[in-house]
């Protein structure tokens, strides 16, 4: 667990590096290309010097896929994950950004705990753990909307464009955009987050959804926001959507923005 926290913060995934390299080729703005190249240089320095890619080492967001035949012995899994986060953030000199009482004194918890943990029970006996350090800048600009059932893809696209436009340079574009469509209010938000775990640029396994991801991405990249909001043709690297059935009265849509430092690390036990 501790190692996943440090690796995710020090080493930018190959998927993101490849997407940034492809973005350099596509970007029309010279300043945009200069910024993208600096981001690639940053990734090289962070990996070489074992420094965090970004000072915002995030909320430690943990996704656990627990095989239903696995048995966790010797204590609480929650406690074990929390202990690993505490150790990883201390040993890796990662920034501790969590405050214990968000509405009163906002005092720092001092060890970046608690993590936010999501569990899924899956077939089999493996335990899969994914860590996503989620920075505040892009998270702050994310949004959940309950659209009208008849609105469809057009309204979803408009919502995404509005969220990305309002975020501008603050969310550190080029972005990865996670979309959770359907289910219910809280589930849509978790789906949008989970969509961000998919390797950047890997389309949905469902052809219809993959085509929608591509259409929305093309529209987002017409906004002109560009790398770090300084203008350009690459505002997002990818759109990842997860779609589930929902009530016929509803169309829940969560838009979760991820910055270009789309960090994640995983292990299968």
């Amino acid at each position: 667990m501790a190692r996943l926290c440090t690796e995710a913060n020090f080493i930018l995934g190959r998927d993101v590096i490849d997407a940034l390299k492809a973005a350099v080729e596509k970007e029309e703005s010279p300043l945009g290309r200069q910024i993208l190249n600096a981001l690639l240089e940053n990734a090289a320095i962070a990996g070489r010097d074992r420094l965090p890619l970004c000072q915002d080492c995030g909320t430690a967001l943990v996704f656990v896929e627990l095989g239903q035949d696995a048995h966790i012995a010797g204590g609480s899994l929650d406690d074990a994950i929390e202990a690993g986060v505490r150790r990883g953030y201390a040993e890796g000199c990662l920034r501790k950004s969590m405050v214990s009482k968000p509405c009163s004194d906002r005092k720092n918890s001092g060890d970046n705990t608690p993590p936010v943990i999501h569990y899924d029970i899956v077939p089999g006996c493996a335990v899969k753990i994914n860590v996503m350090p989620k920075g505040g800048g892009a998270e702050n600009m994310s949004r959940l909307a309950m659209l009208k059932p008849g609105d469809g893809e057009e309204a979803i696209k408009d919502l995404v464009l509005q969220v990305v436009q309002e975020a501008g340079g603050a969310a550190c574009p080029p972005l990865v955009i996670g979309l959770g469509i359907g289910a219910t209010l809280e589930k849509a938000a978790v789906m949008a987050k989970k969509a961000l775990i998919r390797p950047v640029g890997h389309p949905s396994q469902y052809e219809e959804i993959a085509a929608m991801e591509q259409r929305i991405l093309e529209e987002v990249n017409k906004l002109g926001i560009g790398p770090l909001g300084m203008g350009g043709s690459v505002t997002a690297l990818a759109v990842h959507a997860v779609v589930l059935p929902c009530h016929f009265a509803s169309l829940p849509v969560a838009v979760n923005l991820q910055c270009h430092s789309a960090r994640h690390a995983g292990v299968v036990i």
Binding site: L31, N42, L51, N108, N140, A170, L228, G232
Partner: protein
């Protein structure tokens, strides 16, 4: 890309000559301040008390670093979102700050205040904290250590890369450049 070398704190001539879109390498002194510090400073000024740091002419950097690993000056140290400081910026312009470094756009009111007070708003590389760490030669916490990563630090920087986002004449790179690449 042409870089212009500028010393911080910026003198009035540098400020007048900077144009939105200019790439600049800053050397000299920066003071860090982000959300919690801005709130404390605002409360101090509301009580009519002096700030613990003399900000006249100074450059603020909206940043809270990761801890310095052994043998290093500082950890990763990229900018945070500037617009969260907007509500506190006018009183600090009145205290004499002349430049701010952060990421992203400011509110229209703040942009106007920056112009009215003859200051500049600079942006640096969001999410490139490891690269920027190499440009910081000295870092010292000078105020509010209880705020940990959010405490005020005095930084000495060399060739710290920034882009002038808002110049002192009202020029704005965000609106001019995004309009240029907009296809909707």
């Amino acid at each position: 890309m042409q870089y212009r070398q500028v010393h911080s704190p910026l003198n009035s001539e540098d400020i007048l000559n900077l144009r939105a879109g200019d790439s600049v390498l800053l050397s000299g002194v920066l003071y860090t301040a982000r959300d919690a510090v801005h709130k404390r400073w605002a409360q101090t000024l509301e009580k009519g008390l002096p700030l613990p740091v003399d900000l006249a002419g100074q450059t603020l950097y909206y940043m809270g670093p990761s801890p310095a690993p052994p043998g290093r000056v500082i950890g990763a140290c990229g900018p945070t979102t500037s617009r969260r400081m907007d509500r506190y910026t006018l009183p600090l312009l009145k205290q004499g700050i002349k430049a701010m470094i952060g990421k992203g756009e400011r509110s229209p009111e703040t942009k106007l205040h920056i112009e009215n007070y003859g200051a500049v708003y600079l942006v640096t590389l969001g999410g490139a904290g490891a690269l920027l760490a190499g440009r910081i030669k000295k870092a010292e916490t000078i105020c509010y250590p209880d705020l940990m990563a959010e405490a005020v630090m005095r930084l000495e920087v060399e060739d710290f890369p920034v882009i002038c986002a808002y110049d002192s004449l009202g020029g704005d790179i965000f609106s001019s450049q995004t309009a240029r690449y907009r296809r909707i």
